[in-house]
Structure formats: C-alpha cells, structure tokens
C-alpha cells in the first residue's frame, strides 16, 4: 500500500517522517507545476474552484508515481471542499485509475478521523493511530512556527539569502528529529539561528496581511508565490490562517494557542454574524484584527467562484471604509498570470509606502 495526499503547503513534511517511522510506504506528490494545473483543469468541471483543480492534478501525478491510496480529508459543507473527494474519485475512476480513496464525513471529529485511519491502515490499534495522528499535528505546528519565523526575519535580513539558508536548515533539523523531545530541543537552536542572523539597521518593514481561503493563502504554488515575493521585497507578511491553527481549532493540541475561529468571530461580529462556510469568518475577523493592530495593508486572496470568500469580499468593502485600511482583492484561477499579479502588487505596495510616509 502506497499512501499519498494532495500537495498542500508543508503538509507532506509533517506526515512524511511520522508515517515512514511506523513503516508505511509514502508517495510524495510532486510540487505543483504548470503540468499539475493543466491536468487538473483538463479533467475538472469548468467552474470547480482552483484548489479542486490543483489537488486533482496533484492526485493524478501521485497516481502516476505509483500511489494506490489517496488521503483526502472530506467534510460536510456548506463549502464545496467537503464534496471534493467524491467528485475527484468519480473523475479519477473514469480515467481508469485503481486506488482507494480515504475520506471522512466529519473530519472535525477525532473519532471519524481515527476510523478513517483505521480503515486505510487495516489492523492497527486505536491507541497507536491516536499517537500517529497527534504526532503529525504536533510536527505541523513546529513547521508552521518555523514558517512564521521565516516571514518575520526574511524582510529584515542584511545579507541576501541568509534567511532562506536558515529556513532550509531548520526544516532539515525538524525532519530529522523524530521524537517529541528532539523536536522540542530544536526550538531554541532554530530561534538562536534566526536571532544571530545579520539584520538591517533602523528598518521597520511594511506589514501586509494575507487573508482569504486557506489553500491560496498557504500554498505558494497556488498564490503565484506572492508571499515569498513580498518577503523578498522586504515586506513582512502575516497570514490569517495556518494549517496547525486549523487543526488546533478542532483537536486542541496546542495548549497555549487559543481557538482562532472563536477569536476571529469576536472581531467579525459587527460585520459577519454567522459562519458562512470555509474561512469567511477568519477572513473578516482577522482583517478587522489586523487593521486595529497596525498592519499597513491587507491582501484578500481566494479562488475564483469560492462561495464563502465572495461573502467575505462583499463584507470587506464595508470594513475597508470603516477602518480605513487598504484591501487588495486577488482572485486566482488557472488563467491568472504571475506578471499581472505582480504589477497589481507593486502598485499596492507603492500606495502603502506613500500612506506610511504621509503619517
């Protein structure tokens, strides 16, 4: 049995070492390229959202590499994401692939997730699956922590490329620390590396928040690498969602991190009073939070035809006026070109710089 899961940010770095350690065979999906997207677009329904197409392409590429079990979370609405697995299974079966699709009806419940893992792995005991599940989540939170550090220090680096080197080294260190104790020990080491890095003097970088749909905010291959591009230009990027927070809201494994969904709902309350699927609450709530906490501008990024984020977009037009915060809306689909996005970002950054000078 060769397990795979669609490419999403640093997810493969989290489940890879854990599953390898217990002897499972894994096929890593290749990093999404133009070909991945073309494959997905070719076989997906026309108006399916962008993440659907990328994950479908990613699945096809993994199946070509010999995977026979796909892990796709599943869900139960109101966003389309919960129905991905069904449609993708139909499409892939029509293409003639043989595989097992593992998905849960309610991935928010721990019991369903464990049932799903038991179904895929066969005979393992619940307790060992429980341990595997949480070690994946804990690893994920360490990776997210490193990523956050990277986005903090990259715009401040004095020697170009030093932060990237540290980032690579940190990922390598985390990948090689198998036990929880070693993971915890790597924290001060990585912090020390970042602290020691040479920094530019007397610079306060522009701070830009990225809010929106999880997949496009997180995955550089889905958002035209604008997060990395902004960081390279010396702009601090803050993200409204990250995978470990998403998991922490549901499974509660980070003792010192509060529930980000509840946190965002509190800020979103004057504008959006009910969760309308996807990351709509996070998008609105975090925009309000960031606007009140000294962020220069907000980039609202989501896939074309994303239903929850369209609700958020309508509401953000009001937030923008009320809180006097510039918001750039980027809608991503398979026809989006890097050049077009970067031109708009340049103009947006110019605007932010001018606003800052005026103050």
């Amino acid at each position: 049995m060769k397990i795979t899961a669609p490419y999403l940010g640093m997810l493969h770095r989290a489940y890879g070492p854990v599953l390898k350690n217990v002897g499972a065979e894994i096929v890593y999906p290749p990093k999404p390229t133009k070909r991945t997207l073309d494959l997905g677009t070719k076989h997906a329904p026309e108006f399916a959202c962008f993440p659907f197409k990328v994950t479908l392409g990613s699945m096809i590429e993994a199946l070509e590499l010999g995977a026979d079990t796909i892990f796709m979370i599943g869900g139960w609405g109101p966003c389309r994401f919960g129905y991905y697995d069904v449609i993708q299974e139909l499409i892939l079966r029509d293409l003639g692939y043989q595989f097992i699709m593992g998905s849960a009806n309610n991935p928010d419940a721990l019991r369903d997730m464990l049932d799903l893992m038991q179904k895929i792995s066969g005979s393992r005991s619940k307790w060992s699956l429980y341990k595997i599940f949480f070690s994946i989540l804990i690893r994920l939170s360490f990776l997210d922590w490193v990523l956050k550090k990277y986005f903090r220090y990259k715009p401040r680096e004095a020697v170009s490329g030093e932060a990237d080197q540290i980032f690579e080294r940190a990922l390598h260190l985390i990948e090689n620390s198998v036990s929880l104790a070693r993971l915890l020990k790597s924290v001060p080491i990585i912090s020390f590396w970042f602290k020691k890095m040479k920094k530019r003097k007397n610079v306060t970088p522009l701070r830009v928040a990225m809010v929106g749909e999880l997949f496009t905010v997180l995955d550089p291959s889905a958002n035209m690498e604008i997060d990395l591009w902004l960081a390279r230009r010396g702009i601090e990027v803050l993200k409204s969602v990250c995978l470990s927070d998403y998991a922490n809201d549901r499974f509660r494994f980070k003792p010192f991190r509060r529930n980000q969904f509840k946190f965002s709902s509190r800020y979103a309350r004057p504008y959006l009073r009910f969760h309308s699927g996807g990351e709509s609450i996070e998008s609105v709530g975090k925009t309000v939070y960031f606007a009140k906490n000294g962020v220069d501008g907000v980039i609202h990024i989501f896939p074309f035809t994303c239903m929850p984020e369209l609700v958020a977009q309508t509401i953000l037009t009001k937030v923008q006026k009320d809180l006097d915060i510039p918001i750039l809306t980027l809608i991503i689909d398979e026809h989006t070109a890097v050049g077009g996005v970067q031109t708009r970002l340049e103009a947006f950054i110019d605007l932010l710089e001018r606003r800052r000078r005026r103050r």
Partner: protein, 324 residues
C-alpha cells in the same frame, strides 16, 4: 399598518405563500418588490463585487428598490432547512451582505433558521420568534403559522400537479385544489435548475418561455415529491449536503428513469460553486440515458444565443422521436 417588505428573489420562489399568509394573518401589510427588470439587475450589479452570481445581484436590486417603502425588510438567514443539509453559503451570509452593501436600511428581520443544529423544530421556532416581533399574543402567532403552513403545502401540491408558478400562487389561496387542465403537448422535458432561476421573470423570458412556446411541457424539480427526490439520490456514495443540490441531482436521476421525459435542460448560474459539482454528478450518473442541454447564464446573457441553442436541442429531440 406595519409594512413588511419581501424582495422578489432567491427563496421568495419557494416560500412566498408561507411568508405572505403568515404576515397577513398577523395583520401586517406585505409589500413585494416588482418583477425583475433589467434596471434592477444593473442596480444590483453596481452594489456588489463582480464575481457574485446573478441571482444574488437580482436580489440586491430588489432590496434596493424596496427599502424606502417599508418599515421592515424580511431577509431571513437560511442556514439549513434539513437535518443533514446546508443552504448555499451566500444565503447564510445574506443579511450581513445586505447590511454591508446597502445603506441606509429599514430594520431587518434576519433571524436564523438552522435545522442542522436545532432540530426539525427550528423552522417553527423561527416563525414564532418572527411573530413575537409584531404580536405579544402567542396563540395568535401559532394560529397564523398553522394557516400559513396549510397554504404552503397547498402551493407545493399545486406545483407537483404541474401548475405554473403564478397559477399555483393564486390558486393556493383558496382551499380547493383544481385539476390540471393541461393537455399533452409535444412531449415533456426536465428542467434542472433552482426555483429562483426557473421562475425569475428575466430568465423565464429567455429559457422557459422559449421552450414552452414550441409546445413542450417543462417539468421543474418541484413536480417531484420529497420522497421521490430522496429515492433519486439514495445510490450516491455520499449524500449531497446542499438542499437545492440534492433536489436537482435527485430530480435529474428520477427524470432519467421516467420514460416519458424526452430530454433535460440544465440551467446553471455563471460562477455558482454548487452547480459546478451538481452538474458533474448529473452528467456522471445520466451520461447517455437522456439528451441534455446545459445553459449557463449571467447578467450579460443574450436571448438570441439561448434561443438558437434551445431550438437546435428541440429539433434534435424531435428527430430522435421520429426515428424510433
């Protein structure tokens, strides 16, 4: 007399008899916006980001035209009307979107209906709560709800008998159910689309009237009872968790099993997230059992383009019939 405004859009086409009778039994005047015009669509498009679907834009056009004439606007937050299915995310955020996009507004009646979280009683509780805004008398509100539900079920029954929407709306006022006078035309065609696509005057002109003008009968998803739709979707690997999506896929599968339906027209809104998946499912399960025509509309739709395609499709169906 208090005036409550109901925009003629979205769930109006499903629940209007219930809403109207409920408010009128409480002694409240109901004001409905005029049928959709092109000016309303333009107005709605101006208020909203471009990527939203046309029905939402139409709805905003209606809200805009209504807001100055009424004391309350009735924009309920429909979250779920079944135990295991949601409505569209845009319905869930609808009152908030209206509040953010239009200013000033009369007070909204935007209480939620959430059967998935609160059980089957949620719908009744919603109406009791709405009634409490206008009347302290609980008995009176309960009676109003009972009368309204009676009319709503008569309305659904009339639709199931094949009456057109406007006729069903009128006839449901009286307690006797007339027989359907319709004689057989060229044949029956299935119409897979949400009620707020099929009955909206703007889209009706371009699609429904084109087909009916050529002598075909259109069966909407509403001619099927809930039970029939459940039977249609029971073989899916996973239940569809959108109420309207389930209705559309279930109806399509039932139409394909029904020998007297000659073809099917799929009506989808441009950029509708759910339709993209529903029609993929329909295409997968029906494939070559029935001829299908897929039409995607948005605010720029041209009547000529649609009528050409509909004409070609109907000719193809006529030829199939003759060959057999």
């Amino acid at each position: 007399m208090t005036k409550v405004g109901i925009p003629r859009g979205l769930l109006f086409y499903r629940y209007f008899p219930l809403w109207e009778t409920f408010f009128e039994s409480l002694g409240i005047q109901v004001i409905v916006s005029n049928p959709t015009t092109e000016a309303m669509i333009r107005q709605g498009s101006k208020l909203l980001p471009g990527d939203l679907c046309l029905p939402i834009k139409i709805y905003f056009g209606h809200v805009e035209s209504l807001r100055k004439e009424v004391d309350f606007l009735f924009i309920p937050r429909y979250i779920s009307i079944e135990l295991d299915a949601y409505m569209c995310p845009k319905f869930i955020g609808l009152p908030d979107m209206v509040l953010c996009a239009i200013d000033p507004l009369p007070p909204l009646i935007d209480l939620p209906i959430h059967c998935k979280a609160q059980g089957t009683k949620a719908e009744e509780n919603f109406y009791l709560k709405v009634g409490r805004i206008f009347s302290k008398n609980r008995k009176k509100v309960e009676r109003a709800y009972a009368i309204a539900m009676e009319r709503q079920s008569r309305f659904r029954l009339l639709l199931q008998k094949g009456f057109p929407f406007e006729k069903a709306l009128d006839s449901s006022r009286s307690s006797e159910i007339p027989e359907n006078p319709k004689e057989d035309g060229e044949g029956k065609l299935g119409m897979i689309g949400r009620p707020y696509y099929v009955h909206d005057p703007f889209l009706k002109k371009h699609v429904v009237e084109q087909v009916e003008g050529r002598g075909y009968d259109l069966l909407t998803t509403e001619v099927l009872e809930d039970q029939a739709i459940e039977e249609g979707v029971e073989h899916l690997r996973k239940r569809i968790y959108w109420s309207f999506g389930k209705e559309m896929v279930g109806a399509a599968i039932r139409f394909s099993q029904n020998g007297s339906v000659k073809g099917m027209i799929n009506l989808a809104s441009f950029g509708c997230g759910q339709d993209s998946f529903n029609f993929e499912l329909i295409q997968h399960y029906i494939k070559d059992k029935l001829p299908m025509l897929s039409l995607v509309f948005d605010e720029h739709l041209s009547g000529a383009g649609f009528s050409t395609r509909i004409e070609a499709f109907l000719e193809m169906i006529a030829r199939r019939k003759n060959r057999r």
